[in-house]
Symmetry: D2
Amino acid sequence: MKRIDNFKSIIDKYEIIFFDAFGVIKTYQGLVPGIERTFEYLEAKGKEYYIVTNDASRSPVELAEAYHKYGLNVISADRIISSGMLTKEYLDLQVQDGIVAYLGTPASSHYIDSTGLHTLPVSAINNNNIDKVSAMIFLDDEGFDWFKDLNKTVNILRKRTIPVIVANTDRAYPMSVQDVQIAIGGIASMIENIVGKKFIRFGKPDSQMFMFAYDLIREYRPVNKKEIVMVGDTLQTDILGGNKFGLDTVLVLSGNTLAKDVDTRITATGIMPTYICDSAVVGSGDLGF
Amino acid sequence: MKRIDNFKSIIDKYEIIFFDAFGVIKTYQGLVPGIERTFEYLEAKGKEYYIVTNDASRSPVELAEAYHKYGLNVISADRIISSGMLTKEYLDLQVQDGIVAYLGTPASSHYIDSTGLHTLPVSAINNNNIDKVSAMIFLDDEGFDWFKDLNKTVNILRKRTIPVIVANTDRAYPMSVQDVQIAIGGIASMIENIVGKKFIRFGKPDSQMFMFAYDLIREYRPVNKKEIVMVGDTLQTDILGGNKFGLDTVLVLSGNTLAKDVDTRITATGIMPTYICDSAVVGSGDLGF
Amino acid sequence: MKRIDNFKSIIDKYEIIFFDAFGVIKTYQGLVPGIERTFEYLEAKGKEYYIVTNDASRSPVELAEAYHKYGLNVISADRIISSGMLTKEYLDLQVQDGIVAYLGTPASSHYIDSTGLHTLPVSAINNNNIDKVSAMIFLDDEGFDWFKDLNKTVNILRKRTIPVIVANTDRAYPMSVQDVQIAIGGIASMIENIVGKKFIRFGKPDSQMFMFAYDLIREYRPVNKKEIVMVGDTLQTDILGGNKFGLDTVLVLSGNTLAKDVDTRITATGIMPTYICDSAVVGSGDLGF
Amino acid sequence: MKRIDNFKSIIDKYEIIFFDAFGVIKTYQGLVPGIERTFEYLEAKGKEYYIVTNDASRSPVELAEAYHKYGLNVISADRIISSGMLTKEYLDLQVQDGIVAYLGTPASSHYIDSTGLHTLPVSAINNNNIDKVSAMIFLDDEGFDWFKDLNKTVNILRKRTIPVIVANTDRAYPMSVQDVQIAIGGIASMIENIVGKKFIRFGKPDSQMFMFAYDLIREYRPVNKKEIVMVGDTLQTDILGGNKFGLDTVLVLSGNTLAKDVDTRITATGIMPTYICDSAVVGSGDLGF
């Protein structure tokens, strides 16, 4: 484990960089200041990069558009690997017909819908269609009435033995410098405990997220895990997951993990990044490549 | 472990009977048919009885009134031991001043309020009064906006290091023959996991509930645990809790545990009642005492 | 929550003091230096005191003898409340006959044996007597072959539906300034997960420990919870348990909780002692009462 | 979910068959009777097959030799994917030097050793070499003194912040028709709880096991997940893991899951195989291909 002052020197050692989104590239306030220089440098050096995110609330196209609005035009949809994509792949492979009931916004389901399956919000499930429900997916913490629809979800799952997919494993996510919001992953754990069934979770630290990105790259060129580094702000998801998959990792201190806590947290959890770096920002003086 | 056909024969062996409420005396449809004969018999024989319930949604007086509405007039408030009473005792002993923030209906807080503490619903906590919040209590799953107030609760507990009391340990409760509803105990577990702090739980199977009832009796007469039997419909709360406290127990099959599942569940959990009985109803032919 | 320099000033506010043993009165090196002055002061002032300990490895008589060997002669067996005593009470009330199989040393079982029940170490259970096993107790991490007897315990519990009592809830305990040892509570949790059954746990933070002590006092004089203070070195057991029972609490920094970590741990766990004090030692200058 | 009488008809639908080992091909008594016909049929039809096993106690070469001893000569080492192979890959990628301390038999470590890393049993770690320990691996429940070496492991992990790999996620495994034995996965969970650190687990249901097998196939030919079926006897590992990876699955009733329990367990866990079949044996009359 090495402390590195200069994120550029890390980029120089690897061919492919995986970035977590929240806390690394953006925060609740917008882009991490200076992060556009990092992508400028990556492009200049011909390095590949992917954003590997536990965000199933929108499609990769919509996630990319959000970066463009912030002015980070370089990030295209095909650079984004989301837990929603794994959910979509699962449904394609394992759910042939029937209704996929979901918790989330219409936008979050729209993406899944496009596979040809019929999706319906939990609020639209009733005695007439409950027997056709063939899967349940947890996509986003917004877009539904928590009291009505969470109680309804429990009762649907008591009546139907169907696969349940949780497309975001996070328990909470930051809303402002001091507030967090309960994520759909936290809600899903509560319901899993109540109904006593086993849900399927996609999202870091699960290695299937990293495998999905790794496979995308291998479709057009050979790759070795030693060429890839995972950059993230959270020990339990980005660093643990990347490390378990066999990747080198960089913990950045621009998000979830604060500089003052980093040593205590690493010792307490035993999760060790390969490098620790203040942020994923390439210094403004470093661009005279 | 013995199967007993005749609940009367169990009453005859003990001096004091503790009853769970839901699934034993009443269900979502009203009183368990014939249960009034049980109380008639208890009164005739001079046996003592208490209702020991994980219901903190109302005061004992209001809980008793609900029985009276159903026609079970014999049950007075002083026969009811609720997890709300332990919450009240805790606040009396350990919280001197400040605001007690709560999740629940106004009715649920009214009872706590009467101790002289100032209670406020989570929805009324804001930047001006958050520093005065000296305890948080989870009372009932109704009476608040789940989305707004659960997220707010998480953020209050991230900012304030205060005791948090969960006055109902159940995760879900029955609403109809086929549906359940998420209980405040299930919600509290989700929030406890998110904030990573340790909450204080009152309610069966915790022995403090049984101790509270036991102490009430000892105030006016000596008592031995061998004279008491606990009657309940749930292995994990009524039977485990009663047994751990040293009481004999009766599992009745009129609620949570169905006759067809009882053997499997006892073997699977290892929780063994002293007796198993169809219900807590004394047969109509048995009253010719 | 107040930091107090002078343990004597805490004693002066209460009538009855409950002490944890390990980390408060003694450590792996012997008595906490100066602790004899605390008991001298308690005796002089006519205060009552009890040692409330999760130690089921020996009887109260043997535990008291260990203090005498160290020179703390004032502590008699009737001052010691152990989780072993609750185990004994449980067996007296709930297990009438058969064999009580145990994991622990012969000394740990000797105490239980004296109730008239027949105890046998797990190593002595075989096909001829397994059907007579009516309870299993976890007493101590020593006195048996871990490989043989833990595997045997799993298989006994898969074949017999019987109450299982864990008489020590700790997961590990200190052996030296730098080493800990796995406690029987940690082993019991592993076996509980493997067999999927529900074990009965006695020991702090469970309130039954405090209730037992409280009841002993009430046998000879009336008492109010406000007159008692619990002194311990561990937030999760001594402080959480005492606080939940309604007692004021003192966290001392002579054992499990180090001075440098105390603020972080209180914030992280949300478990708040009434007072924090360096140790339970009364200053040598304070005895000129 | 379909019940299928004829395992041959399942083979006919897929190009590649993944088999769990224990409970599918062999039991504690030797080979599942008739299983050799299944492999005869696979060979005759030119189907590919792999054994995907949570067994890290020996190398694939040694595991294959064990099948040969039983007379199943067709299974070669390159057909076997074990959680030990993932452990080896992890060490190759992430641990450059130092000592890898292990719990298990010398045979289990021999395989890891061959990567060039220096392995030492926990019993050989002492004050002179502890600072060089760069990883800890849990390989097998045999080959060490449980009391001494488990306590030692706890203390090594309290002193060293290093990656910890659990190469077998099972909690227990069958030893005879009625007895099980605690597996290294169960022991590892106990130690993980005591030290409070996060261990890395390889083995089903984790998708990295399936990915490893999938990647091996892709090295020499293109493959689609729809061409593969996973055959196993355990819902929580084989079926959940295969299903999550996107594979069709067959639950066989020759091992962990008994015919009488299968419906209850599927409903209780919500884990649904694509097919249920008595065993993986091709009928003796079916070989007239």
